[in-house]
């Protein structure tokens, strides 16, 4: 059943997977393109630039997660989930099949990024003091993709009712935030939530930090 699901999803999304894999392959190669031109004086500048390039890795992971999660559930949403409901398997099993088939579609993107990172670092001869992290960077990208895909997948798989309830809760939260700001201007609820989500042990904490292919 999983094989059939993978085949079905691949048929619907292969062009997206190929495009995202090409982007993932190119990213590390392009990021080290300028290099340090053999001059030690250029190294700090190169590392600062590489740090800025590092912002594109979580961005690419988020883009891949959202695009593939939406594409995976597109046909079900179009058909109002009738196909899923007609199948003689429990709902949870169907969702799990979709999820694991989706994970398989993520693999080419992660492998492309790993290959790009290996190619990029193989072409450089780093001076003492610099270390290369092609495998760790690809592993971090893969894990970030797993987390963000799970999130996007859950939203895409949710029923209209669940999404409606979610939107209402978000609206209520924003209203409370505005009321609190008016009463106590120094209390920022949105900022508090963002901080909680992005600092340890929040779900997005591991997405921060350094995304350096080459580092000191």
């Amino acid at each position: 059943m999983l094989k059939a699901m993978i085949r079905l999803q691949w048929k619907g999304c292969w062009h997206l997977v190929v495009a995202l894999a090409v982007a993932a392959l190119a990213l590390p190669i392009v990021s080290v393109r300028t290099g340090w031109r053999g001059s030690g004086e250029q190294l700090p500048r190169f590392l600062i630039e590489l740090q800025l390039w590092g912002l594109f890795y979580p961005a690419l992971a988020a883009l891949t997660a959202v695009i593939l999660a939406a594409a995976i559930w597109a046909s079900d949403r179009r058909g109002h989930h009738i196909y899923a409901l007609l199948l003689p398997i429990p709902r949870w099993r169907y969702v799990l099949l979709r999820y694991f088939a989706g994970l398989v579609l993520l693999l080419p993107v992660v492998l492309a990024l790993w290959l790009g990172a290996v190619i990029a670092t193989a072409s450089l001869d780093p001076p003492p003091g610099l270390r290369q992290f092609p495998h760790a960077l690809a592993a971090k990208f893969g894990l970030a993709l797993l987390l963000l895909f799970g999130l996007a997948f859950a939203v895409a798989a949710a029923s209209r009712r669940a999404i409606g309830i979610g939107m209402k809760l978000v609206g209520l939260f924003i209203a409370v935030h505005i009321a609190v700001i008016l009463l106590s201007p120094k209390t920022n609820l949105i900022w508090t939530v963002v901080t909680a989500l992005s600092t340890w042990p929040g779900p997005f904490a591991p997405l921060g930090g350094r995304w350096m292919l080459i580092d000191v």
């Binding site: 700090p44 760790a136 592993a139 987390l147 779900p203 591991p206 000191v216």
Partner: protein, 318 residues
């Protein structure tokens, strides 16, 4: 230039000038005069609107309307930052004044905002005005940014009274208008990736190597290699001033003479200890692991499982 040379120059220019249309000359003169008047009016208007906002430990901040709300915060930030490196020292006995100006802005021929100024003066304010670069049609931004710009200008003023040897050694000034994190990170990158023999020795903890690579003291080794670039020197000087505390700047000024003695006097420690402390401070900024840690991987897997469970729960389509 000799009189003969000036004469020849006038004769050479006479031909092309005579060929110009007199009406075009007159129009240009009118335009220039109008432009000068406009700039003068806007500066006068700006000065008329500026008003004193707060005084704090020998400093006074003044601002025009747009910057009155955060002028006091800018003063507090500027004062705290300058004390960190310069203590209570002033650039000169006559006091100082630094003014940041923002130009007026126009849209579709209509003035949308008037020129704005934010000024910090060291008391006594003798009118020894130092204008920061004009910022046309740009906002001075947040109190942090404004304080940073004041600090940059203040650093330049302070350095103009520093011993000549220090100024020559520093090359590019104190770079205080650059964010501290950014400056220290660049200095750390430069320290760690230096390829010269002295630079590598410095990373290993050899103070003599650091002194050579910073251009403070020659090692005598012909193969010692190159020096760090000017930003690293600025970081070194600021580290020495910070190590030395409140009287550091005064001691630097009093030391005069060689760079090494000046820096050691500012830091209040022997030069080698100062260099090793500076090096240790930069190496502490070095990331201690690669992009991914085991704990981060575990956290991602845990959250992924939780999110999947939530996804299963909310996928109820009927």
């Amino acid at each position: 230039m000799s009189r003969l040379g000036v004469g020849v120059l006038f004769l050479a220019l006479a031909g092309p000038l005579a060929a110009q249309d007199a009406a075009a000359w007159r129009d240009s003169a009118y335009r220039l005069s109008a432009e000068r008047q406009r700039v003068w009016d806007s500066l006068k208007q700006d000065d008329a609107e500026i008003e004193e906002i707060a005084r704090r430990s020998g400093l006074v901040v003044s601002a025009s309307s747009e910057y009155r709300a955060f002028a006091e915060e800018v003063l507090d930030r500027f004062d705290a930052a300058r004390r960190r490196w310069f203590g209570a020292a002033l650039p000169g006995p006559a006091g100082f004044r630094i003014t940041l100006r923002q130009g007026e802005s126009w849209s579709f021929g209509r003035q949308t905002s008037r020129p704005q100024s934010l000024s910090i003066a060291g008391v006594p304010d003798t009118g020894d005005v130092r204008l920061a670069p004009f910022v046309p049609d740009a906002n001075l931004g947040s109190p942090e940014k404004a304080a940073q710009r004041f600090l940059g200008e203040y650093g330049t003023l302070m350095m103009s009274s520093a011993p000549a040897a220090i100024r020559r050694w520093l090359r590019a000034g104190l770079l205080l208008d650059m964010g501290e994190d950014s400056r220290r990170e660049r200095a750390m990158y430069s320290l760690v990736t230096g390829v010269g023999k002295a630079q590598r020795a410095c990373v290993q903890g050899d103070a003599t190597g650091c002194a050579h690579a910073l251009g403070i003291r020659r090692s005598g080794d012909p193969d010692a290699g190159g020096e760090y670039y000017p930003l690293v020197r600025a970081d070194m000087l600021l580290a020495a001033l910070e190590q030395g505390g409140q009287g550091a700047w005064t001691r630097l000024m009093a030391a005069g003479g060689a760079v090494e003695e000046g820096l050691a006097a500012a830091a209040g420690t022997p030069a080698d200890s100062m260099l090793v402390r500076w090096r240790d401070g930069l190496l502490a900024l070095q990331p201690d692991r690669g992009p991914l840690s085991l704990s981060a991987a575990g956290l991602i897997l845990g959250w992924s499982a939780l999110i999947l469970a939530a996804g299963l729960a909310i996928a109820r389509w009927v």
